[in-house]
């Protein structure tokens, strides 16, 4: 029964819908970029490059052939998880799409977005602690409970989990290094502490999976689970190291802005 659902698709049109959506997002971003190119301030080109890289990483994760590999092999699943939940979001957040939208959209719409960004609800949702719980909590639930095995046969759950990886990964990354204007941003120390907990929780989860062969009852060999857990450990580490570098680089930049205008005499 379960085996049939693995093999039935040769890629059909619906498989390509996520990729089409990515193309639409890319076109919108580029349109916004060109519309404000000649305005004062403009838009940094490196952000365009980062955003494009982020979309390409998501595109790779959502290719029908990778989807099929990920469905059968936990290593494939882990590659997808890393791209959707960690590397993709890192580059997308560096592309600052909401800030670009604020600049390019008509004033009324931009005001609405700013109001949302400054609202109490958004502050709570985008707080590093909330984002950590959604992001890491999701991973713990997926791999340590029967959820993973269920997702193999339930395609709705399967897509929901992919969406969650991306959304929670984006939220978490944004809570660390987002540039959009908000009413108040949690202190730098809080963000560093939450990143520390996140790194530790990720390292622990992957070694725990390696040691006790989680997800349990999955149709994967022990070797495959160990290989996937190792991939999760090392590549997850690298992405969080990159995130830490961006976070501290922004601290370094802000200190220079804070210091230079102060007269030294």
């Amino acid at each position: 029964m379960t085996h049939d659902s693995h093999q039935l698709h040769d890629s059909t049109f619906p498989d390509w819908i996520p990729l089409l959506l990515l193309v639409v997002v890319a076109v919108l971003y580029l349109l916004a970029y060109y519309s404000i190119l000649n305005e004062k301030g403009g838009w940094q080109r490196w952000r365009v490059i980062c955003f494009t890289v982020g979309l390409v990483l998501l595109g790779i994760a959502l290719l029908p052939s990778l989807m099929r590999w990920a469905h059968q092999d936990l290593v494939g699943h882990m590659v997808q998880h890393l791209l959707l939940g960690m590397y993709g979001p890192l580059f997308l957040v560096l592309g600052a799409p909401v800030m670009l939208a604020l600049k390019a959209l008509p004033v009324n719409l931009a005001r609405t977005i700013t109001a949302i960004l400054r609202s109490r609800a958004f502050f709570m949702l985008s707080h590093p602690v909330t984002a950590l719980l959604l992001n890491m909590g999701g991973m713990y639930l997926l791999y340590l409970t029967p959820l993973y095995v269920k997702s193999l046969t339930n395609s709705f759950l399967h897509y929901l989990i992919h969406f969650h990886f991306l959304a929670a990964g984006f939220l978490f990354t944004w809570s660390m290094i987002g540039q959009e204007p908000v009413a108040k941003r949690p202190a730098f120390g809080i963000r560093v502490f939450v990143l520390f907990i996140s790194m530790a929780a990720h390292a622990f989860l992957s070694k725990f999976m390696y040691a006790y062969l989680y997800p349990l009852n999955a149709p994967h060999s022990a070797d495959q689970i160990r290989e996937a857990a190792k991939l999760m450990y090392y590549w997850g580490d690298l992405s969080e190291l990159l995130l830490a570098i961006v976070l501290f680089a922004s601290w370094y930049r802000k200190r220079s802005i804070a210091k230079i205008p102060a007269p030294s005499a």
Partner: protein
């Protein structure tokens, strides 16, 4: 050069360099012993769950330490406030204390993994910890030298 070094820039120079030292030693351990020599194991069966958890916390602390220390050093240098002698001293103290900590707490107390999976582990343990001690001594020597230099500089 720095005739009147404020105490807090001395302290910050030492803190930043120690963080980098700890992180660099952890990276050396990971790259040489885990990846290149493959003496250490990713996980060995004797590791407990508490061991895994402390391993995760330590690992995260090392990563943050090296990044935080690096940017703190850059910031001090930009302000012309980096006390180089003290920074080198504490870089070595960071290296040494991580090596000793790893050798005693990680390998022996928590038993996360061993240096190498051989019959007679003792020579490995001794050289590991002796290397840590040597790095600590170099750090202490450099620290003393830095302090003496500062005294002669300001004494002129």
């Amino acid at each position: 050069m720095n005739q009147q070094v404020a105490p807090h820039t001395k302290r910050r120079s030492m803190q930043a360099a120690a963080l980098v030292g700890v992180g660099v030693m952890a990276a050396v351990d990971e790259i040489i012993f885990h990846q290149i020599l493959a003496w250490h194991h990713f996980y060995d069966r004797s590791t407990t769950e508490v061991g895994l958890m402390t391993d995760g916390l330590l690992h995260a602390a090392e990563l943050i330490a090296v990044v935080a220390g690096f940017f703190m050093l850059l910031d001090l240098r930009r302000q012309d406030a980096l006390v180089t002698g003290r920074a080198w001293a504490w870089f070595f103290l960071g290296l040494g204390s991580f090596q000793l900590f790893d050798g005693i707490v990680d390998h022996k107390v928590l038993r996360l993994h061993q240096i190498r999976y051989v019959e007679n582990l003792l020579p490995y343990d001794i050289s590991w910890n002796a290397a840590g001690l040597l790095l600590l001594l170099i750090g202490l020597y450099l620290w003393r030298k830095a302090k003496l230099n500062e005294m002669t500089n300001t004494g002129i």
